[in-house]
Amino acid sequence: MQHKMKPAVFLRKYGRIMLGGGVLALILIVAVAAPLLAPYDPTAIDPYSQKAFPSALHLMGTDRFGRDIFSQVLYGARISLLVGAVVAIVSTAAGIVLGLLMGYYKLVDKIVMRILEGISAFPEMLLALTLACIFGNGVDKVIIALAIVGTPNVARIVRSQVLSIKESEHVESARAMGATDLRIMFKYILPLCVSPLIIRFTTTMASAILTEASLSFLGVGVDPTTPTWGSILSAAKTFVISHPYMAIYPGVAIVVTVLSISILGDGLRDLLDPKMK
Protein backbone atom coordinates (compact mmCIF):
# COMPACT_ATOMS: atom_id res chain seq x y z
CA MET A 1 0.00 0.00 0.00
CA GLN A 2 3.03 2.27 -0.34
CA HIS A 3 2.36 3.45 -3.87
CA LYS A 4 1.05 6.97 -4.21
CA MET A 5 -2.49 7.61 -5.32
CA LYS A 6 -3.50 10.42 -7.60
CA PRO A 7 -5.19 13.19 -5.60
CA ALA A 8 -8.43 12.83 -7.60
CA VAL A 9 -8.60 9.09 -6.97
CA PHE A 10 -7.71 9.58 -3.34
CA LEU A 11 -10.46 12.16 -2.93
CA ARG A 12 -13.04 9.99 -4.63
CA LYS A 13 -12.12 7.07 -2.43
CA TYR A 14 -11.62 8.73 0.94
CA GLY A 15 -13.02 12.25 0.45
CA ARG A 16 -16.41 11.62 1.98
CA ILE A 17 -15.04 9.56 4.81
CA MET A 18 -12.60 12.34 5.67
CA LEU A 19 -15.21 15.07 5.38
CA GLY A 20 -17.93 13.24 7.31
CA GLY A 21 -15.56 11.73 9.84
CA GLY A 22 -13.69 15.02 10.31
CA VAL A 23 -16.80 17.05 11.02
CA LEU A 24 -18.16 14.34 13.28
CA ALA A 25 -14.86 14.18 15.17
CA LEU A 26 -14.98 17.95 15.61
CA ILE A 27 -18.51 17.75 17.02
CA LEU A 28 -17.40 14.97 19.31
CA ILE A 29 -14.49 17.05 20.63
CA VAL A 30 -16.84 20.00 21.18
CA ALA A 31 -19.28 17.75 23.05
CA VAL A 32 -16.59 16.31 25.30
CA ALA A 33 -15.00 19.68 25.94
CA ALA A 34 -18.29 21.53 26.36
CA PRO A 35 -17.60 22.58 30.00
CA LEU A 36 -14.30 24.14 28.90
CA LEU A 37 -15.62 25.81 25.77
CA ALA A 38 -18.96 27.08 27.00
CA PRO A 39 -18.72 30.72 28.14
CA TYR A 40 -21.73 30.39 30.44
CA ASP A 41 -23.59 27.79 32.44
CA PRO A 42 -26.19 26.66 29.90
CA THR A 43 -28.92 26.55 32.53
CA ALA A 44 -28.08 29.86 34.21
CA ILE A 45 -30.88 32.40 33.91
CA ASP A 46 -29.87 35.98 33.33
CA PRO A 47 -32.86 38.31 33.74
CA TYR A 48 -30.90 41.28 32.40
CA SER A 49 -30.22 39.86 28.97
CA GLN A 50 -33.34 38.04 27.90
CA LYS A 51 -33.84 37.39 24.19
CA ALA A 52 -30.58 39.13 23.36
CA PHE A 53 -29.56 39.01 19.70
CA PRO A 54 -26.20 37.42 18.85
CA SER A 55 -23.32 39.64 19.94
CA ALA A 56 -19.76 39.34 21.13
CA LEU A 57 -21.12 38.66 24.59
CA HIS A 58 -23.54 35.96 23.51
CA LEU A 59 -22.35 34.43 20.24
CA MET A 60 -25.71 32.91 19.43
CA GLY A 61 -27.82 35.22 21.51
CA THR A 62 -29.92 34.24 24.51
CA ASP A 63 -33.36 32.72 24.95
CA ARG A 64 -36.33 34.19 26.72
CA PHE A 65 -34.88 33.41 30.15
CA GLY A 66 -31.54 34.89 29.22
CA ARG A 67 -29.76 31.52 28.91
CA ASP A 68 -26.79 31.59 26.53
CA ILE A 69 -27.76 29.63 23.39
CA PHE A 70 -24.13 29.02 22.34
CA SER A 71 -23.49 27.21 25.62
CA GLN A 72 -26.75 25.31 25.29
CA VAL A 73 -25.86 24.15 21.77
CA LEU A 74 -22.44 22.98 22.99
CA TYR A 75 -23.97 21.01 25.84
CA GLY A 76 -26.75 19.77 23.58
CA ALA A 77 -24.15 18.04 21.40
CA ARG A 78 -23.42 15.74 24.34
CA ILE A 79 -26.98 14.47 24.56
CA SER A 80 -27.37 14.15 20.81
CA LEU A 81 -24.17 12.22 20.27
CA LEU A 82 -24.75 10.09 23.35
CA VAL A 83 -28.27 9.19 22.28
CA GLY A 84 -27.23 8.61 18.69
CA ALA A 85 -24.24 6.41 19.55
CA VAL A 86 -25.89 4.36 22.27
CA VAL A 87 -29.05 3.80 20.24
CA ALA A 88 -26.97 2.72 17.24
CA ILE A 89 -24.88 0.34 19.37
CA VAL A 90 -27.84 -1.17 21.21
CA SER A 91 -30.06 -1.63 18.18
CA THR A 92 -27.18 -3.00 16.10
CA ALA A 93 -26.29 -5.52 18.81
CA ALA A 94 -29.91 -6.55 19.34
CA GLY A 95 -30.52 -6.62 15.59
CA ILE A 96 -27.49 -8.87 15.02
CA VAL A 97 -28.63 -11.40 17.60
CA LEU A 98 -32.23 -11.42 16.40
CA GLY A 99 -31.25 -11.41 12.74
CA LEU A 100 -28.84 -14.33 13.16
CA LEU A 101 -31.42 -16.37 15.03
CA MET A 102 -34.16 -15.55 12.54
CA GLY A 103 -32.03 -16.32 9.52
CA TYR A 104 -30.74 -19.54 11.02
CA TYR A 105 -33.78 -21.04 12.71
CA LYS A 106 -37.02 -21.13 10.76
CA LEU A 107 -39.22 -21.35 13.84
CA VAL A 108 -37.66 -18.28 15.45
CA ASP A 109 -38.05 -16.53 12.13
CA LYS A 110 -41.77 -17.22 12.00
CA ILE A 111 -42.38 -15.89 15.51
CA VAL A 112 -39.96 -12.98 15.80
CA MET A 113 -40.51 -11.75 12.26
CA ARG A 114 -44.23 -11.26 12.98
CA ILE A 115 -43.40 -9.19 16.06
CA LEU A 116 -40.87 -7.08 14.17
CA GLU A 117 -43.33 -6.55 11.34
CA GLY A 118 -45.82 -5.39 13.93
CA ILE A 119 -43.30 -2.89 15.25
CA SER A 120 -42.40 -1.67 11.77
CA ALA A 121 -46.06 -1.22 10.86
CA PHE A 122 -46.14 1.95 12.97
CA PRO A 123 -44.56 5.10 11.57
CA GLU A 124 -41.22 5.42 13.35
CA MET A 125 -41.93 8.83 14.81
CA LEU A 126 -45.32 7.81 16.14
CA LEU A 127 -43.90 4.69 17.73
CA ALA A 128 -41.04 6.59 19.32
CA LEU A 129 -43.49 9.17 20.60
CA THR A 130 -45.77 6.54 22.09
CA LEU A 131 -42.92 4.64 23.73
CA ALA A 132 -41.38 7.83 25.08
CA CYS A 133 -44.75 8.79 26.57
CA ILE A 134 -45.06 5.38 28.19
CA PHE A 135 -41.52 5.33 29.57
CA GLY A 136 -41.47 8.98 30.67
CA ASN A 137 -38.74 11.62 30.48
CA GLY A 138 -35.04 10.89 30.69
CA VAL A 139 -32.05 10.15 28.47
CA ASP A 140 -32.07 6.45 29.34
CA LYS A 141 -35.76 6.11 28.53
CA VAL A 142 -35.41 7.91 25.22
CA ILE A 143 -32.53 5.59 24.34
CA ILE A 144 -34.63 2.52 25.11
CA ALA A 145 -37.54 3.83 23.06
CA LEU A 146 -35.35 4.66 20.08
CA ALA A 147 -33.49 1.35 20.28
CA ILE A 148 -36.81 -0.50 20.06
CA VAL A 149 -37.66 1.55 16.99
CA GLY A 150 -34.25 0.97 15.37
CA THR A 151 -33.78 -2.75 16.03
CA PRO A 152 -36.18 -4.23 13.42
CA ASN A 153 -34.34 -2.55 10.55
CA VAL A 154 -31.01 -4.00 11.60
CA ALA A 155 -32.51 -7.42 12.31
CA ARG A 156 -34.06 -7.55 8.85
CA ILE A 157 -30.80 -6.72 7.14
CA VAL A 158 -28.90 -9.37 9.09
CA ARG A 159 -31.65 -11.92 8.49
CA SER A 160 -31.62 -11.49 4.75
CA GLN A 161 -27.83 -11.75 4.70
CA VAL A 162 -27.90 -14.90 6.81
CA LEU A 163 -30.50 -16.49 4.56
CA SER A 164 -28.27 -16.17 1.54
CA ILE A 165 -24.91 -16.83 3.23
CA LYS A 166 -26.04 -19.94 5.07
CA GLU A 167 -26.63 -21.73 1.78
CA SER A 168 -23.07 -21.17 0.63
CA GLU A 169 -20.62 -24.01 0.56
CA HIS A 170 -18.25 -22.53 3.10
CA VAL A 171 -21.03 -22.70 5.68
CA GLU A 172 -21.90 -26.21 4.61
CA SER A 173 -18.29 -27.26 4.91
CA ALA A 174 -18.27 -25.84 8.44
CA ARG A 175 -21.26 -28.03 9.23
CA ALA A 176 -19.47 -30.97 7.68
CA MET A 177 -16.56 -30.32 10.03
CA GLY A 178 -18.93 -30.56 12.96
CA ALA A 179 -19.07 -26.88 13.89
CA THR A 180 -21.79 -25.84 16.35
CA ASP A 181 -24.60 -23.55 15.23
CA LEU A 182 -23.20 -20.75 17.37
CA ARG A 183 -19.77 -21.05 15.79
CA ILE A 184 -21.27 -21.05 12.30
CA MET A 185 -23.38 -17.99 13.06
CA PHE A 186 -20.67 -15.86 14.59
CA LYS A 187 -17.60 -17.09 12.74
CA TYR A 188 -18.87 -18.07 9.32
CA ILE A 189 -21.88 -15.85 8.71
CA LEU A 190 -21.57 -12.64 10.75
CA PRO A 191 -18.15 -11.55 9.39
CA LEU A 192 -19.65 -11.51 5.90
CA CYS A 193 -22.52 -9.23 6.98
CA VAL A 194 -20.25 -6.47 8.24
CA SER A 195 -20.41 -3.97 5.41
CA PRO A 196 -24.20 -3.50 5.27
CA LEU A 197 -24.16 -3.33 9.06
CA ILE A 198 -21.64 -0.49 9.20
CA ILE A 199 -23.80 1.53 6.86
CA ARG A 200 -26.92 0.70 8.84
CA PHE A 201 -25.10 1.77 11.98
CA THR A 202 -24.56 5.27 10.63
CA THR A 203 -28.14 5.62 9.39
CA THR A 204 -29.49 4.45 12.73
CA MET A 205 -27.30 6.95 14.51
CA ALA A 206 -28.39 9.82 12.28
CA SER A 207 -32.08 9.04 12.58
CA ALA A 208 -31.81 8.54 16.36
CA ILE A 209 -30.33 12.03 16.69
CA LEU A 210 -33.15 13.46 14.60
CA THR A 211 -35.87 11.59 16.46
CA GLU A 212 -34.43 12.51 19.84
CA ALA A 213 -34.50 16.17 18.78
CA SER A 214 -38.09 15.77 17.65
CA LEU A 215 -39.10 14.11 20.91
CA SER A 216 -37.42 16.81 22.96
CA PHE A 217 -39.06 19.42 20.76
CA LEU A 218 -42.42 17.85 21.54
CA GLY A 219 -41.54 17.77 25.21
CA VAL A 220 -41.54 14.00 25.73
CA GLY A 221 -37.83 13.46 25.39
CA VAL A 222 -35.04 14.22 27.77
CA ASP A 223 -35.82 16.07 31.01
CA PRO A 224 -36.81 19.61 29.90
CA THR A 225 -34.20 21.35 32.06
CA THR A 226 -31.34 19.56 30.29
CA PRO A 227 -30.33 21.48 27.21
CA THR A 228 -30.71 19.45 24.03
CA TRP A 229 -30.95 20.65 20.47
CA GLY A 230 -34.56 19.60 20.35
CA SER A 231 -35.51 21.39 23.55
CA ILE A 232 -33.74 24.59 22.47
CA LEU A 233 -35.77 24.47 19.26
CA SER A 234 -38.88 23.80 21.27
CA ALA A 235 -38.27 26.81 23.48
CA ALA A 236 -37.61 28.91 20.39
CA LYS A 237 -40.76 28.03 18.54
CA THR A 238 -42.86 30.97 19.83
CA PHE A 239 -40.15 33.45 18.83
CA VAL A 240 -39.27 32.10 15.41
CA ILE A 241 -40.51 35.24 13.64
CA SER A 242 -39.16 37.84 16.04
CA HIS A 243 -35.97 36.09 17.13
CA PRO A 244 -35.13 33.53 14.40
CA TYR A 245 -31.54 33.03 15.64
CA MET A 246 -32.90 31.05 18.59
CA ALA A 247 -34.00 28.29 16.22
CA ILE A 248 -31.38 28.65 13.51
CA TYR A 249 -28.29 27.67 15.52
CA PRO A 250 -29.55 24.46 17.09
CA GLY A 251 -31.19 23.62 13.75
CA VAL A 252 -27.89 24.06 11.94
CA ALA A 253 -26.19 21.89 14.57
CA ILE A 254 -28.66 19.06 13.94
CA VAL A 255 -28.33 19.35 10.17
CA VAL A 256 -24.53 19.41 10.22
CA THR A 257 -24.30 16.43 12.58
CA VAL A 258 -26.78 14.26 10.71
CA LEU A 259 -25.29 15.23 7.37
CA SER A 260 -21.74 14.40 8.45
CA ILE A 261 -22.84 10.99 9.70
CA SER A 262 -24.69 10.31 6.45
CA ILE A 263 -21.72 11.37 4.34
CA LEU A 264 -19.45 9.17 6.43
CA GLY A 265 -21.81 6.24 5.98
CA ASP A 266 -21.96 6.82 2.23
CA GLY A 267 -18.20 6.91 1.98
CA LEU A 268 -17.88 3.72 4.01
CA ARG A 269 -20.44 1.95 1.86
CA ASP A 270 -18.54 2.71 -1.32
CA LEU A 271 -15.22 1.83 0.24
CA LEU A 272 -16.51 -1.53 1.43
CA ASP A 273 -18.22 -2.38 -1.81
CA PRO A 274 -15.64 -4.35 -3.77
CA LYS A 275 -17.29 -3.42 -7.05
CA MET A 276 -16.53 0.27 -6.47
CA LYS A 277 -12.80 -0.30 -6.10
Binding site: A176, M177, G178, A179, Y188
Partner: protein, 333 residues
Amino acid sequence: MMEQTEQRKILLQARDVCKWYPIKGLSFGPKRHVQAVDHVSFDLYQGEILGLVGESGCGKTTLARTVLRLIEPTSGSVLFDGKDLMAQSKGQMRALRKDMQIVFQDPYSSLHPRMTVRQIIEEPMKIQGLYPDAAQRKARVSDLLKMVGLNDSHMDRYPHEFSGGQRQRIVIARALATEPKLIICDEPVSALDVSVRAQILNLLRDLQEKLRLTYLFISHDLSVVEHLCDRVAIMYLGHMVELGSNEDIFGHALHPYTKALLSAAPQVGQFGRRDRILLEGDIPSPADPPSGCRFRTRCPYAAEGCSQVPQWEEYSEGHFVLCHRFRELDQQG
Protein backbone atom coordinates in the same frame (compact mmCIF):
# COMPACT_ATOMS: atom_id res chain seq x y z
CA MET B 1 -6.43 -50.26 -5.66
CA MET B 2 -8.55 -52.73 -3.83
CA GLU B 3 -7.53 -56.35 -3.55
CA GLN B 4 -10.47 -58.64 -4.14
CA THR B 5 -9.14 -61.34 -1.82
CA GLU B 6 -8.87 -59.03 1.17
CA GLN B 7 -11.63 -59.30 3.74
CA ARG B 8 -13.66 -56.25 2.86
CA LYS B 9 -15.00 -54.20 5.70
CA ILE B 10 -18.08 -52.15 5.05
CA LEU B 11 -17.42 -48.55 6.09
CA LEU B 12 -20.70 -47.07 5.04
CA GLN B 13 -23.94 -48.85 4.43
CA ALA B 14 -26.91 -46.96 2.99
CA ARG B 15 -30.28 -48.65 2.91
CA ASP B 16 -33.40 -47.33 1.18
CA VAL B 17 -32.29 -43.74 1.52
CA CYS B 18 -34.96 -41.33 0.32
CA LYS B 19 -34.94 -37.58 0.14
CA TRP B 20 -38.18 -36.04 -0.98
CA TYR B 21 -38.66 -32.31 -1.06
CA PRO B 22 -42.23 -31.10 -0.63
CA ILE B 23 -43.41 -28.78 -3.38
CA LYS B 24 -44.68 -25.57 -1.91
CA GLY B 25 -47.63 -23.75 -3.33
CA LEU B 26 -51.37 -23.63 -3.28
CA SER B 27 -52.41 -27.04 -4.42
CA PHE B 28 -55.47 -28.87 -3.24
CA GLY B 29 -55.11 -32.59 -3.94
CA PRO B 30 -52.40 -34.73 -2.31
CA LYS B 31 -49.13 -33.12 -1.32
CA ARG B 32 -46.54 -33.42 -4.07
CA HIS B 33 -42.85 -34.07 -3.70
CA VAL B 34 -39.69 -33.82 -5.73
CA GLN B 35 -38.20 -37.25 -5.31
CA ALA B 36 -34.56 -36.22 -5.46
CA VAL B 37 -33.31 -39.53 -4.08
CA ASP B 38 -35.61 -42.52 -3.95
CA HIS B 39 -34.83 -45.81 -2.21
CA VAL B 40 -31.11 -45.91 -2.83
CA SER B 41 -29.05 -48.64 -1.19
CA PHE B 42 -25.35 -49.29 -1.47
CA ASP B 43 -22.31 -50.37 0.51
CA LEU B 44 -19.04 -48.55 0.61
CA TYR B 45 -16.04 -50.69 1.52
CA GLN B 46 -13.11 -49.48 3.52
CA GLY B 47 -10.28 -48.32 1.30
CA GLU B 48 -12.13 -48.26 -2.00
CA ILE B 49 -13.15 -45.51 -4.37
CA LEU B 50 -16.78 -45.73 -5.37
CA GLY B 51 -17.74 -43.57 -8.32
CA LEU B 52 -21.21 -42.11 -8.48
CA VAL B 53 -22.20 -41.13 -11.99
CA GLY B 54 -25.29 -39.50 -13.44
CA GLU B 55 -26.64 -36.50 -15.27
CA SER B 56 -27.13 -33.15 -13.60
CA GLY B 57 -30.14 -33.23 -11.35
CA CYS B 58 -30.22 -37.00 -10.94
CA GLY B 59 -29.68 -36.74 -7.18
CA LYS B 60 -25.96 -37.49 -6.85
CA THR B 61 -25.20 -34.49 -4.70
CA THR B 62 -28.37 -34.87 -2.64
CA LEU B 63 -27.46 -38.49 -1.99
CA ALA B 64 -23.94 -37.52 -0.89
CA ARG B 65 -25.20 -34.87 1.49
CA THR B 66 -27.91 -37.11 2.84
CA VAL B 67 -25.43 -39.89 3.53
CA LEU B 68 -23.38 -37.41 5.60
CA ARG B 69 -26.58 -36.18 7.20
CA LEU B 70 -25.88 -32.66 6.05
CA ILE B 71 -29.43 -33.00 4.76
CA GLU B 72 -31.91 -34.99 6.81
CA PRO B 73 -33.22 -37.89 4.75
CA THR B 74 -36.95 -38.46 4.42
CA SER B 75 -36.48 -42.12 5.25
CA GLY B 76 -33.87 -44.85 5.16
CA SER B 77 -30.84 -45.67 7.25
CA VAL B 78 -27.14 -45.05 7.00
CA LEU B 79 -24.63 -47.06 9.00
CA PHE B 80 -21.19 -45.50 9.25
CA ASP B 81 -18.52 -47.64 10.83
CA GLY B 82 -21.28 -49.64 12.51
CA LYS B 83 -23.13 -46.61 13.90
CA ASP B 84 -26.58 -45.64 12.76
CA LEU B 85 -26.16 -42.01 11.76
CA MET B 86 -29.87 -41.28 11.87
CA ALA B 87 -30.02 -42.31 15.51
CA GLN B 88 -27.25 -39.95 16.60
CA SER B 89 -28.03 -36.78 18.49
CA LYS B 90 -26.81 -33.47 17.13
CA GLY B 91 -23.82 -33.49 19.47
CA GLN B 92 -22.89 -37.11 18.74
CA MET B 93 -23.18 -36.40 15.04
CA ARG B 94 -20.80 -33.46 15.35
CA ALA B 95 -18.22 -35.68 17.00
CA LEU B 96 -18.64 -38.32 14.28
CA ARG B 97 -17.92 -35.76 11.59
CA LYS B 98 -14.26 -36.09 12.47
CA ASP B 99 -14.25 -39.30 10.44
CA MET B 100 -16.16 -38.10 7.41
CA GLN B 101 -15.36 -35.13 5.25
CA ILE B 102 -16.55 -33.64 2.03
CA VAL B 103 -14.79 -31.83 -0.79
CA PHE B 104 -17.17 -29.60 -2.68
CA GLN B 105 -17.29 -28.84 -6.35
CA ASP B 106 -16.61 -25.14 -6.16
CA PRO B 107 -13.33 -24.27 -4.46
CA TYR B 108 -14.18 -20.58 -4.75
CA SER B 109 -17.20 -20.67 -2.46
CA SER B 110 -16.18 -23.44 -0.08
CA LEU B 111 -13.42 -21.46 1.64
CA HIS B 112 -14.14 -18.71 4.17
CA PRO B 113 -13.08 -15.53 2.36
CA ARG B 114 -11.94 -13.73 5.51
CA MET B 115 -9.79 -16.48 7.01
CA THR B 116 -6.17 -17.21 6.19
CA VAL B 117 -5.23 -20.62 4.86
CA ARG B 118 -3.82 -21.48 8.25
CA GLN B 119 -7.04 -20.56 10.04
CA ILE B 120 -9.06 -22.48 7.47
CA ILE B 121 -7.08 -25.67 7.94
CA GLU B 122 -6.96 -25.26 11.71
CA GLU B 123 -10.75 -24.93 11.95
CA PRO B 124 -11.61 -28.64 11.81
CA MET B 125 -8.91 -29.38 14.41
CA LYS B 126 -10.26 -26.70 16.72
CA ILE B 127 -13.83 -27.82 16.22
CA GLN B 128 -12.97 -31.43 16.92
CA GLY B 129 -10.65 -30.54 19.79
CA LEU B 130 -7.56 -32.05 18.16
CA TYR B 131 -4.07 -30.66 18.68
CA PRO B 132 -4.95 -28.27 21.51
CA ASP B 133 -1.43 -26.87 21.46
CA ALA B 134 -1.03 -23.98 19.00
CA ALA B 135 2.49 -24.96 17.94
CA GLN B 136 1.41 -28.54 17.30
CA ARG B 137 -1.50 -27.29 15.28
CA LYS B 138 0.74 -25.13 13.19
CA ALA B 139 3.07 -28.04 12.55
CA ARG B 140 0.09 -30.11 11.47
CA VAL B 141 -1.04 -27.38 9.07
CA SER B 142 2.43 -27.27 7.64
CA ASP B 143 2.41 -31.08 7.16
CA LEU B 144 -0.99 -30.97 5.50
CA LEU B 145 0.07 -28.22 3.13
CA LYS B 146 3.09 -30.27 2.11
CA MET B 147 0.89 -33.29 1.63
CA VAL B 148 -1.29 -31.47 -0.88
CA GLY B 149 1.60 -29.86 -2.70
CA LEU B 150 1.59 -26.42 -1.11
CA ASN B 151 4.12 -24.99 1.34
CA ASP B 152 4.48 -22.89 4.48
CA SER B 153 4.67 -19.64 2.56
CA HIS B 154 1.00 -20.10 1.67
CA MET B 155 -0.05 -20.32 5.30
CA ASP B 156 -0.85 -16.69 6.01
CA ARG B 157 -2.49 -15.82 2.72
CA TYR B 158 -6.16 -15.49 1.97
CA PRO B 159 -8.12 -17.74 -0.40
CA HIS B 160 -8.58 -15.05 -3.04
CA GLU B 161 -4.84 -15.03 -3.61
CA PHE B 162 -4.94 -18.57 -4.97
CA SER B 163 -5.93 -20.19 -8.25
CA GLY B 164 -8.79 -22.67 -8.48
CA GLY B 165 -6.48 -25.67 -8.39
CA GLN B 166 -4.58 -24.34 -5.39
CA ARG B 167 -7.82 -23.60 -3.60
CA GLN B 168 -9.00 -27.13 -4.17
CA ARG B 169 -5.70 -28.28 -2.64
CA ILE B 170 -6.49 -26.15 0.41
CA VAL B 171 -9.96 -27.70 0.57
CA ILE B 172 -8.40 -31.15 0.44
CA ALA B 173 -5.90 -30.24 3.15
CA ARG B 174 -8.76 -29.06 5.33
CA ALA B 175 -10.66 -32.27 4.69
CA LEU B 176 -7.62 -34.30 5.73
CA ALA B 177 -6.98 -32.30 8.90
CA THR B 178 -8.97 -34.56 11.20
CA GLU B 179 -7.65 -37.79 9.63
CA PRO B 180 -11.05 -38.87 8.33
CA LYS B 181 -11.86 -42.38 7.15
CA LEU B 182 -14.30 -41.31 4.46
CA ILE B 183 -14.07 -38.39 2.09
CA ILE B 184 -16.92 -37.58 -0.22
CA CYS B 185 -15.66 -35.82 -3.31
CA ASP B 186 -18.55 -33.97 -4.88
CA GLU B 187 -17.34 -33.29 -8.42
CA PRO B 188 -14.02 -32.04 -7.07
CA VAL B 189 -12.55 -31.20 -10.46
CA SER B 190 -15.49 -30.10 -12.58
CA ALA B 191 -15.06 -26.43 -11.65
CA LEU B 192 -11.37 -26.52 -12.51
CA ASP B 193 -9.47 -25.89 -15.71
CA VAL B 194 -8.81 -29.01 -17.71
CA SER B 195 -5.08 -28.44 -17.28
CA VAL B 196 -5.24 -28.75 -13.49
CA ARG B 197 -7.81 -31.53 -13.32
CA ALA B 198 -5.33 -34.32 -13.77
CA GLN B 199 -3.08 -32.89 -11.06
CA ILE B 200 -5.90 -32.79 -8.53
CA LEU B 201 -7.12 -36.26 -9.50
CA ASN B 202 -3.63 -37.68 -9.12
CA LEU B 203 -3.28 -35.94 -5.78
CA LEU B 204 -6.56 -37.46 -4.63
CA ARG B 205 -5.47 -40.92 -5.70
CA ASP B 206 -2.03 -40.63 -4.13
CA LEU B 207 -3.56 -39.50 -0.86
CA GLN B 208 -6.07 -42.32 -0.97
CA GLU B 209 -3.32 -44.89 -1.36
CA LYS B 210 -1.04 -43.31 1.20
CA LEU B 211 -3.64 -42.70 3.90
CA ARG B 212 -5.86 -45.71 3.13
CA LEU B 213 -8.82 -43.42 2.60
CA THR B 214 -12.25 -44.32 1.31
CA TYR B 215 -13.81 -42.08 -1.31
CA LEU B 216 -17.29 -41.65 -2.60
CA PHE B 217 -16.41 -39.92 -5.82
CA ILE B 218 -19.20 -38.05 -7.54
CA SER B 219 -18.72 -37.11 -11.14
CA HIS B 220 -20.43 -36.82 -14.46
CA ASP B 221 -17.20 -37.44 -16.29
CA LEU B 222 -17.01 -41.11 -17.23
CA SER B 223 -13.36 -41.05 -18.21
CA VAL B 224 -12.41 -39.73 -14.77
CA VAL B 225 -14.48 -42.39 -13.05
CA GLU B 226 -13.04 -45.19 -15.17
CA HIS B 227 -9.54 -43.98 -14.46
CA LEU B 228 -9.98 -43.57 -10.72
CA CYS B 229 -12.70 -45.76 -9.26
CA ASP B 230 -12.76 -49.36 -8.03
CA ARG B 231 -16.51 -49.60 -8.28
CA VAL B 232 -19.08 -47.47 -10.06
CA ALA B 233 -22.71 -46.66 -9.37
CA ILE B 234 -24.98 -45.11 -11.99
CA MET B 235 -27.91 -42.92 -11.02
CA TYR B 236 -30.89 -41.84 -13.06
CA LEU B 237 -33.67 -39.59 -11.79
CA GLY B 238 -33.21 -40.37 -8.10
CA HIS B 239 -32.75 -44.11 -8.56
CA MET B 240 -29.53 -46.05 -8.54
CA VAL B 241 -29.87 -48.09 -11.74
CA GLU B 242 -26.63 -50.03 -11.78
CA LEU B 243 -23.77 -50.75 -9.42
CA GLY B 244 -20.74 -52.87 -10.12
CA SER B 245 -16.99 -53.06 -10.29
CA ASN B 246 -15.15 -50.86 -12.73
CA GLU B 247 -14.84 -53.84 -15.13
CA ASP B 248 -18.52 -54.72 -14.75
CA ILE B 249 -19.69 -51.27 -15.69
CA PHE B 250 -17.19 -50.36 -18.37
CA GLY B 251 -16.85 -53.89 -19.76
CA HIS B 252 -20.24 -55.44 -19.30
CA ALA B 253 -22.89 -52.82 -18.67
CA LEU B 254 -26.37 -54.23 -18.24
CA HIS B 255 -28.76 -51.35 -17.78
CA PRO B 256 -29.87 -49.62 -20.99
CA TYR B 257 -29.19 -46.23 -19.42
CA THR B 258 -25.62 -47.18 -18.55
CA LYS B 259 -25.11 -48.40 -22.09
CA ALA B 260 -26.47 -45.16 -23.50
CA LEU B 261 -24.27 -43.16 -21.17
CA LEU B 262 -21.17 -45.11 -22.13
CA SER B 263 -21.92 -44.85 -25.82
CA ALA B 264 -22.24 -41.09 -25.50
CA ALA B 265 -18.75 -40.64 -24.10
CA PRO B 266 -16.32 -39.50 -26.77
CA GLN B 267 -13.44 -41.83 -27.44
CA VAL B 268 -10.01 -40.92 -28.69
CA GLY B 269 -8.92 -42.44 -31.99
CA GLN B 270 -12.32 -43.67 -33.02
CA PHE B 271 -13.64 -41.98 -36.11
CA GLY B 272 -16.64 -42.59 -38.24
CA ARG B 273 -19.77 -44.27 -37.07
CA ARG B 274 -20.08 -45.73 -33.66
CA ASP B 275 -22.98 -47.62 -32.25
CA ARG B 276 -24.41 -44.73 -30.39
CA ILE B 277 -27.56 -45.25 -28.44
CA LEU B 278 -29.43 -42.02 -28.81
CA LEU B 279 -31.90 -41.30 -26.08
CA GLU B 280 -34.97 -39.41 -27.07
CA GLY B 281 -36.71 -36.73 -25.10
CA ASP B 282 -35.68 -34.99 -21.93
CA ILE B 283 -35.14 -36.28 -18.46
CA PRO B 284 -38.62 -36.33 -16.83
CA SER B 285 -39.38 -34.06 -13.92
CA PRO B 286 -38.44 -35.63 -10.58
CA ALA B 287 -41.63 -34.08 -9.22
CA ASP B 288 -43.65 -36.35 -11.45
CA PRO B 289 -41.49 -39.37 -12.32
CA PRO B 290 -42.80 -42.16 -14.57
CA SER B 291 -44.41 -45.02 -12.68
CA GLY B 292 -42.52 -48.30 -12.42
CA CYS B 293 -39.13 -48.07 -14.08
CA ARG B 294 -38.21 -44.41 -14.24
CA PHE B 295 -36.18 -44.86 -17.38
CA ARG B 296 -38.97 -46.44 -19.40
CA THR B 297 -40.09 -43.20 -21.08
CA ARG B 298 -36.72 -42.91 -22.78
CA CYS B 299 -35.60 -46.53 -22.88
CA PRO B 300 -35.27 -48.02 -26.37
CA TYR B 301 -36.18 -51.45 -24.95
CA ALA B 302 -39.17 -50.44 -22.86
CA ALA B 303 -41.95 -53.00 -22.85
CA GLU B 304 -45.32 -53.25 -21.19
CA GLY B 305 -43.99 -54.90 -18.03
CA CYS B 306 -41.76 -51.88 -17.36
CA SER B 307 -44.61 -49.95 -15.78
CA GLN B 308 -44.15 -52.25 -12.78
CA VAL B 309 -41.59 -51.28 -10.17
CA PRO B 310 -38.32 -53.07 -11.03
CA GLN B 311 -36.27 -55.02 -8.47
CA TRP B 312 -32.69 -54.28 -7.48
CA GLU B 313 -31.22 -57.58 -8.66
CA GLU B 314 -27.75 -59.03 -8.41
CA TYR B 315 -26.55 -60.29 -11.79
CA SER B 316 -23.16 -61.50 -10.73
CA GLU B 317 -21.27 -61.06 -7.50
CA GLY B 318 -21.45 -57.37 -6.58
CA HIS B 319 -23.03 -56.34 -9.89
CA PHE B 320 -26.53 -54.98 -9.29
CA VAL B 321 -29.09 -53.75 -11.83
CA LEU B 322 -32.47 -52.12 -11.59
CA CYS B 323 -34.18 -53.32 -14.77
CA HIS B 324 -36.92 -55.79 -15.72
CA ARG B 325 -35.41 -56.92 -18.98
CA PHE B 326 -31.66 -56.94 -18.40
CA ARG B 327 -31.43 -60.73 -18.65
CA GLU B 328 -33.14 -61.02 -22.02
CA LEU B 329 -31.28 -57.97 -23.31
CA ASP B 330 -28.01 -59.44 -22.12
CA GLN B 331 -28.70 -62.68 -24.00
CA GLN B 332 -29.57 -60.77 -27.15
CA GLY B 333 -26.17 -59.12 -26.81
